[in-house]
């Protein structure tokens, strides 16, 4: 067996997987997006750009997604970084395991159930009732963009914590000592050593959270009361309620295009931040 054949054989399983699970479905979606809705719903073959011309009718869905997904990612990062830093740098091994488990535990329960808990916490009998006692009246939290943002941060936080934790945990503590020996202030050590060394973790965390958020539909539906509409919700409605598969496919294609563009730009930015360090892992 030549080296070449062996290489092909090794790539074959993953290649087949990609073809069957990614390329084929995406091709179907792409083809459908040029079709038309059948009279009582579904798809009939056609070649028209009508569905793409209709995309502006989903402007709000794209706008909400493109505002709340980066905002949610950023907020998750701001909350996750100090937590991951504390866990990786300042926590003893004994406590580390326990605290890491505590970060994972919420993942053992369905996000559906956990979001229902937030409905109660943010609803009239939850936080607003407490605020009422201290004299702040008539606060409305549930079914707002704020509630959706809270749900998003809560739901996706572990996905942000772990990559950052891993990158900080691998950090060579001798570098920090060296920095301090050379007279750097701890804050300056953090900015000049720790932060740049953890950039790959931040990049991975942000990417994971952002990509998943772009397709989110459950949290906006539950905590936004059907009023904070994401592209994910538009897709659910187009396929299940309007049964307009052609239009739904066009919206899906648009979402994929936006994701490809933003993620590519983002990866460029990260590799620039990593500077000339050719060895720096991206993910």
């Amino acid at each position: 067996m030549t080296q070449r054949t062996r290489n092909w054989l090794l790539v074959a399983p993953a290649g087949t997987w990609l073809l069957v699970m990614l390329v084929l479905p995406l091709s179907v979606v792409f083809i459908f997006s040029f079709g038309e809705r059948a009279p009582s719903g579904g798809y009939v073959p056609a070649f028209t750009f009508e569905q793409y011309a209709n995309l502006p009718a989903r402007f709000t869905a794209f706008k909400n997604t493109l505002m709340l997904a980066p905002l949610g990612t950023l907020a998750a990062l701001i909350i996750a970084y100090p937590l991951a830093y504390q866990l990786a740098v300042h926590t003893s091994d004994k406590w580390k395991t326990l605290l890491l488990v505590l970060v994972i535990v919420p993942f053992w329960t369905s996000i559906l159930i956990r979001s229902y808990a937030w409905i109660f916490i943010l609803g009239g009998r939850g936080i607003p009732a407490l605020l009422d006692i201290v004299g702040v009246e008539d606060v409305r939290l549930i079914n707002t963009s704020f509630a959706v943002l809270v749900g998003i941060i809560y739901g996706y936080l572990p996905l942000m914590v772990f990559p950052i934790y891993v990158s900080l945990d691998r950090l060579d503590k001798r570098l920090l000592e060296a920095s301090s020996d050379l007279g750097a202030h701890p804050f300056s050590t953090f900015l000049k050593v720790t932060l740049p060394m953890s950039i790959s973790g931040i990049a991975t965390g942000c990417m994971l959270v952002f990509i998943l958020l772009m397709g989110e539909f459950l949290i906006p539906a539950l905590l936004g009361g059907g009023k904070v509409f994401f592209v994910g919700n538009a897709l659910v409605d187009l396929f299940l309620q309007s049964r307009n598969w052609a239009y739904g496919s066009a919206v899906a294609v648009m979402l994929i295009v936006i994701m490809l563009v933003t993620v590519t730009l983002y990866m460029r930015l990260i590799s620039r931040l990593n500077g000339q360090r050719e060895d720096a892992p991206l993910m």
Binding site: G226, K227, Q241, S242, R243, N244
Partner: protein, 385 residues
């Protein structure tokens, strides 16, 4: 099971043997061994606990899959069905007829019985998604016992495709403790007050039929209208109202019960359930009109367990079973045999059986209303506005 009734290993094996030989019933076996409650939960996980059909009423297989609506059945009846036939009942709950249709159009739903609403049945027939019913397998179905008003839609071109389950109306539920004593009896009140003192307290269905229908009724148009100008008026109203809504959702009971929402578009049974628990919440039919509907039992084409499907429908049509259903969910039936078994106060309940002039103002949904692409798109625009 308390400790003093704890069954010994030996006794358990004895009972298991006699159950396997068929000398005791499944119910006796489950009761004595304490597995009854466990098997209700674990029926699918442990197939061995399910009765083999050979000992049951007939050979209908080990399971039946039902696609239906929320708050719409009595679990005790389901358990009884499993006890009698050995077929475990798996339930899928849906939010709208559109969603149900979409699932069937996509294929491979795996359902044996589903519960379509009157105006969808012709579409199912046209799309070849529904099985004609063999009446000989439904001895409990007596066509003459049903009010034709609520049974007619089950027959298309002289072929019986579906038998009536329940009927009801679509109105709104209102928490009267917030009205300031001013009466509300119309869709005009519903939307006007939402934009006024009910701002942030009203819910509408996540369902084009009823939400657009109510907005059309506001303007005095037909609930079923697909007229472009009339739909445009309805859309404008909905867009104006949207900032004042608490939510767009068909799951309105939790918010009405917690007091977060004060008013919502509402179906009969939910109105009854809310009113029973919280008397301040009243169920109101808009005097401009609204929806009158009837749900049916039907079998989708290619159902994997057809015999079990017939057995389930037949079981549910038993007047005594049906009466227990009504007592549990509060939706009226069109079957006079069932009504004869219901308590008088239920039959006189104005939520369940509205006054004739209110009822006559209502319209059945039309097939075109379900499939109209403009209505579907209007709803989507309203939600993404």
């Amino acid at each position: 099971m308390s400790d003093d009734t704890q069954i010994t290993k030996k006794k358990f094996m004895e009972e298991l043997r006699s159950y396997q030989k068929g000398s005791v019933t499944r119910r006796h076996f489950l009761g004595v061994t304490g597995l009854g409650a466990a098997s209700a939960v674990m029926g699918t996980a442990l197939p061995g606990l399910r009765a083999s059909p050979a000992f049951a009423a007939g050979d209908i297989g080990d399971r039946v899959v039902l696609a239906t609506w929320p708050n719409y059945h009595d679990q005790a009846n389901f358990d009884m069905f499993t006890d009698k036939t050995g077929a475990f009942l798996q339930v899928n709950v849906f939010g709208s007829n559109e969603e149900m249709l979409a699932k069937l159009q996509a294929g491979g739903s795996g359902w044996d019985v589903y519960v379509p609403t009157n105006y969808t049945i012709t579409t199912y027939v046209e799309e070849g998604l529904i099985e004609p019913l063999d009446v000989s397998k439904l001895p409990n179905y007596d066509a003459s016992a049903f009010d034709p008003r609520f049974a007619d839609a089950g027959t298309v071109d002289g072929v019986l495709y579906a038998v009536p389950k329940n009927w009801g109306t679509t109105g709104f539920a209102l928490n009267t403790s917030h009205t300031g004593g001013k009466a509300m009896d119309s869709w005009k009140d519903f939307f006007d007050r939402t934009m006024d003192d009910f701002s942030g307290r009203t819910m509408v269905h996540d369902y084009q039929l009823t939400t657009i229908g109510a907005a059309l009724n506001y303007h005095g148009y037909s609930f079923n209208s697909v007229d472009e100008k009339e739909l445009a008026d309805a859309e404008k109203l909905l867009i104006d109202v949207k900032p004042h809504l608490f939510a767009i959702s068909s799951d309105y009971q939790p918010s009405m019960r917690s007091g977060d929402a004060w008013m919502t578009i509402c179906w009969t049974g939910d109105g009854k359930q809310l009113n029973t628990d919280i008397p301040d919440i009243q169920y109101i039919l808009g005097k401009e009109g609204g929806e009158l509907w009837s749900d049916y039992y039907a079998i989708p084409k290619g159902a994997p367990h057809t015999e079990a499907a017939y057995a389930l429908i037949n079981f549910m049509l038993d007047p005594e079973v049906n009466a227990r259903e009504v007592l549990a969910h509060g939706y009226p039936v069109a079957d006079s045999r069932t009504n004869a078994l219901l308590p008088e106060e239920m039959l006189n309940d104005p939520i369940l059986y509205p006054a004739a002039e209110l009822l006559n103002a209502l319209e059945f949904g039309a097939a075109a209303t379900l499939t109209d692409p403009n209505r579907a798109e209007l709803m989507a625009r309203f939600k993404s506005a």
